[in-house]
Symmetry: C2
Subunit: 280 residues, 2 copies
């Protein structure tokens, strides 16, 4: 398969029946483009759904707080790929950029998503088509041979097994862009929601999790100290400015120490605090 | 004064004792640049401080929810001004862009602020140097002859009576950039805060206010309906996707109708809901 694999891209005007300006690049072509490397955190839109369901039942996989991770990605910038394909300025005069994977659902429809063209073209957004994850070719499960990486945008838009790109004035028509991954108020359920008027979820909100000690566990603090660890993640590729930690139900607050306080959009934190015991 | 008024800009390298590449444009020069117009909402970082103080005493002017408003601004793009001044690509290779007003504090130090260069250069950010507000020359109180407009960034960085711009690797040294407008956890006060390690507040978080009916008022709902009005504002120049409204303390939720649901970064909302009376 890999010998014949090509990443395709095209432009779609609504009045046309099929895309035009169809271009393609082989994997080797893409690897010859300027190499770009970054640490990026990816989070499923449903991370912590298990906890959400404890408040109100939510449909979907019952993720705990582990549906998030950070990897070093290596690849080419999405904009470099599109330019190398020979697209012109007028081709980018579209509202959206759609992505399609090689994977298909039971009806034979490929997985798809889209993001705003404005975001795709923004040089600060670091959107990448990755061919390596942590220094190895992207593993099959993670999207071999090419995976789209959009820092701070829900995992669902970071299309695996990337095959096709379409510049269009419409969002992807895929189920996952139009009939899923949208937010509603708590009084709306799957029977009453109006997917057509709701926005597709893109950037993730701030997330903060205490991973140690685990929920409902009892710990001792013989020396007057307890160590609390966790992670915090600010969506949209932004950083975490500060993590506040309270061990007394919000009466007093401490600043957590942040690890990885560098360039990465991912920040983990760690807190040490004194004088309180058990049940933080 | 206006006859001799010039907007100045320069580059400052830390090893230098004074700025270099000093450039300037007159007001007429700036008015000859491509004219740009936008509706933008500006909010003081202390909007609703009065309500915050009801939870915990906060230092500063006791603003209610009215320290925010929307105007139509007309002017030139900041980047067009800097290019017209003749700055080169290497001049923009700095971390920050500092702004100084004509107004000085009791010690004679001009008001100042700064934002990240990355933000200033981003074509999607629509940062403007305005010479008109609602179709008239910017009023004296609002920054005549020139006011900086950075949609979605706290009012304090939208420098009035703009006089000087400095491209630098350092943030503005002004009191208002370095020793004020920073956030801390609730256990920190003005005596214990460490301004040097905290980030300067830039983009504002989401804000939503019920302005009608007023707080603690009793209203009748004889026909089974009450009308609730208010505003919602999403910082950073972003839009409001949805406003949820509950009239029963969070048991059930309604989607508010949004006014001005167009291009503007400002969205107001209005909600109608049925079947509940008094004390919303």
């Amino acid at each position: 398969m890999l010998k014949t694999y090509q990443l395709e891209a095209s432009v779609f005007d609504k009045q046309d029946t099929k895309p035009k300006h169809v271009k393609s690049l082989t994997l080797s072509d893409i690897k010859r483009l300027p190499k770009f490397e970054m640490d990026a955190t990816m989070q499923c839109a449903g991370n912590r759904r298990k906890e959400m369901s404890q408040v109100k039942e939510v449909k979907g996989l019952s993720w705990n707080c582990g549906s998030i991770s950070t990897a070093k990605w290596t690849g080419a910038r999405l904009t470099d790929i599109l330019k190398a394909m020979g697209f012109k300025d007028e081709d980018f005069n579209k509202k959206y950029i759609q992505f399609e994977g090689l994977d298909v659902d039971p009806t034979g429809t490929p997985y798809g998503s889209s993001i705003a063209m404005e975001k795709a073209l923004d040089p600060n957004q670091c959107i990448m088509v990755a061919y390596e994850m942590n220094g190895e070719p992207v593993p099959a499960d993670h999207g071999f041979p090419l995976r789209l990486i959009i820092p701070g945008v829900v995992g669902a838009r970071n299309v695996k097994w990337l095959k096709k790109i379409v510049l269009s004035d419409e969002e992807s028509h895929s189920h996952w862009q139009r009939k899923d991954y949208k937010c509603f108020n708590p009084s709306v359920d799957f029977n009453t929601c109006d997917f057509d008027t709701a926005y597709a979820v893109q950037e993730t909100p701030v997330q903060s999790v205490i991973s140690e000690p685990s929920a409902s566990s009892s710990i001792s603090a013989d020396d007057g100290y307890v160590t609390v660890r966790g992670y915090a993640f600010s969506g949209g590729g932004r950083g975490i400015a500060r993590v506040d930690l309270s061990l007394d139900g919000g009466e007093t607050w401490l600043n957590a120490e942040l690890d990885n306080n560098g360039q990465s959009p991912y920040k983990s934190w760690r807190g040490h605090s004194g004088g309180h015991s058990t049940h933080p």
